[in-house]
């Protein structure tokens, strides 16, 4: 029995991604490297033979999946499982968690500007996110992070595969970074330095013409 045959058998029998390490447990002669070699061999073999399926790297592991171009044929069957698509708010919430994890509901609601308890519950039910810890401070609120199901659902190998903030076509993105932890600190420091233009014509003219002493006082009172 060849290594690639054993690996193929294991991949064939699984309906979820398996890591190289998990596959290697099939036989004493296998290790991670040999499994990966075998997978490359299989991938080339399937491509050469124009098979309708491929060994796809997914969620830190590997799974045999059909090629996208066969979707129309498979979609005709009711009993072929098709994951339901997520709603706009769910995607938005998931995007924030993916880049900011771990993070809690309050922070989420501030970023989105809307209540998010319901959508967080939905994402949790669908195993896209899970509670990964608790924050320090009052009430020790739970913090959410993404799951392996999340990677599976979106076809990502790992979180590294998410679009990098610097790839996004949005102005001044470097000031509002959604990157991994080490970059967040930098981004926060930068956001403090946001330099804005002078007030708009309308407000600028009002403020220069009629500075209202009452309003000025009102501002000083609470700070004192």
């Amino acid at each position: 029995m060849n290594a690639h045959q054993i690996v193929e058998a294991v991949l064939f029998a699984s309906d979820a991604p398996l890591t190289a390490d998990e596959i290697a447990r099939a036989d004493e002669t296998l290790d991670e490297d040999r499994v990966e070699d075998a997978i490359r061999f299989l991938q080339a073999e399937y491509d050469d033979a124009e098979r309708s399926f491929q060994v796809v790297e997914l969620a830190e592991g590997y799974q045999v999946l059909t090629r996208p171009e066969f979707a129309p044929y498979l979609e005709r069957f009711d009993n072929v499982p098709r994951p339901s698509r997520l709603s706009g708010p769910a995607l938005e919430t998931l995007a924030i968690i993916a880049y900011r994890q771990p993070l809690g509901r309050i922070e989420m609601e501030y970023i989105r500007g809307v209540g998010s308890a319901g959508v967080l519950k939905t994402l949790q039910d669908r195993e896209m996110i899970e509670v990964v810890g608790r924050a320090e401070g009052l009430g020790r609120p739970v913090l959410y992070g993404t799951t392996a199901r999340f990677l599976e659902h979106f076809g990502f190998k790992s979180l590294e595969e998410l679009p990098r903030p610097e790839e996004l076509p949005i102005i001044l993105r470097e000031r509002v970074q959604l990157g991994p932890e080490e970059e967040v600190e930098e981004a926060e420091a930068d956001s403090d330095q946001l330099v804005l233009g002078e007030g708009s014509e309308a407000t600028a003219s009002v403020s220069s013409d009629e500075p209202d002493p009452n309003v000025a006082q009102a501002e000083e009172t609470p700070s004192g």
């Binding site: 064939f12 699984s14 059909t66 066969f70 997520l86 979106f154 076809g155 946001l194 309003v215």
Partner: protein
């Protein structure tokens, strides 16, 4: 709810028709106002935007207080910023622009929207690939014989009896056993190579986890089934002995090779 703010809106300069319904929240609406008017996000004419925002949310009805609260909160923030902008900024230069935090949130939100769109595209791509597995067919309930004539009351009663079928979630994964029974078969056969019997506990020496005991026992049962050996225990919880079955003789008397010290018990 009536969220269209169409009536009486048109004539004013710089005015927009906005359906609040379409927006996922106040940030979404605000961003829409800014982007559709080509406003420099770093120099938002806060007075104009505040007016437009208030105008847009005017239609939100009180009965949708849940969603309305978020828009009202943003409206309050805008009005506060507008007021702060009117203040003469006499203090130190480093005094932050009152709009800074709002701009930061807006840019961040815009970026998240972009990421959401990319996630959505990735989701669509992934949905075009299929793995193994199936959806179990929906259970068909046997069709009951119904008399042709019926009354509305009967229909109503029948409707009340209808139960939704429980959704079933099925999943299977290939997981390898950490200890293989095949290994334990080899272990037993090796132990019996030069002797006719061996203590079960002796075979577990050097293995800590319970699973080794389980697999060794299963291996013993399997070999018994294959008529290669037989197992003997004098009483519950006593030592289990594994005997090699001599040759293939079916009628071979296993009593002959029982351990002498357990002779009495084994016969009992």
């Amino acid at each position: 709810m009536d969220l269209t703010v169409a009536e009486g809106a048109a004539p004013r300069e710089g005015f927009l028709l906005v359906e609040v319904d379409r927006f996922q929240g106040p940030l979404d609406l605000l961003l829409h106002l800014i982007r559709t008017q080509d406003i420099d996000v770093f120099d938002i004419p806060i007075s104009k935007i505040t007016d437009q925002f208030l105008q847009a949310i005017r239609g939100i009805q009180a009965h949708d207080l849940d969603g309305a609260g978020e828009f009202l909160e943003m409206a309050a923030t805008l009005v506060r910023i507008k007021a702060q902008m009117l203040l003469p900024r006499t203090e130190e230069e480093e005094d932050e622009d009152p709009r800074a935090e709002l701009v930061r949130r807006l840019l961040e939100y815009e970026q998240i929207r972009e990421i959401s769109a990319r996630l959505s595209a990735a989701e669509a791509d992934r949905a075009r690939r299929f793995g193994k597995g199936f959806n179990p067919p929906r259970p068909r309930r046997p069709v009951a014989e119904t008399p042709l004539e019926t009354t509305w009351e009967e229909v109503w009663e029948a409707a009340l009896r209808v139960e939704m079928p429980e959704p079933r979630l099925r999943q299977h994964r290939v997981a390898t056993r950490t200890v293989a029974m095949e290994d334990k078969i080899v272990l037993i056969l090796d132990a019996l190579r030069d002797t006719t019997r061996v203590e079960f506990t002796g075979l577990l020496r050097g293995f800590e986890e319970k699973i080794h005991g389980v697999m060794t026992f299963l291996a013993g049962l399997e070999l018994t089934r294959r008529r290669i050996l037989f197992l003997r225990q004098s009483s519950p919880f006593a030592e289990l002995w594994i005997y090699r079955r001599e040759d293939e003789e079916e009628g071979g008397d296993p009593e002959d090779i029982r351990p002498p010290e357990e002779e009495g018990a084994a016969q009992a």
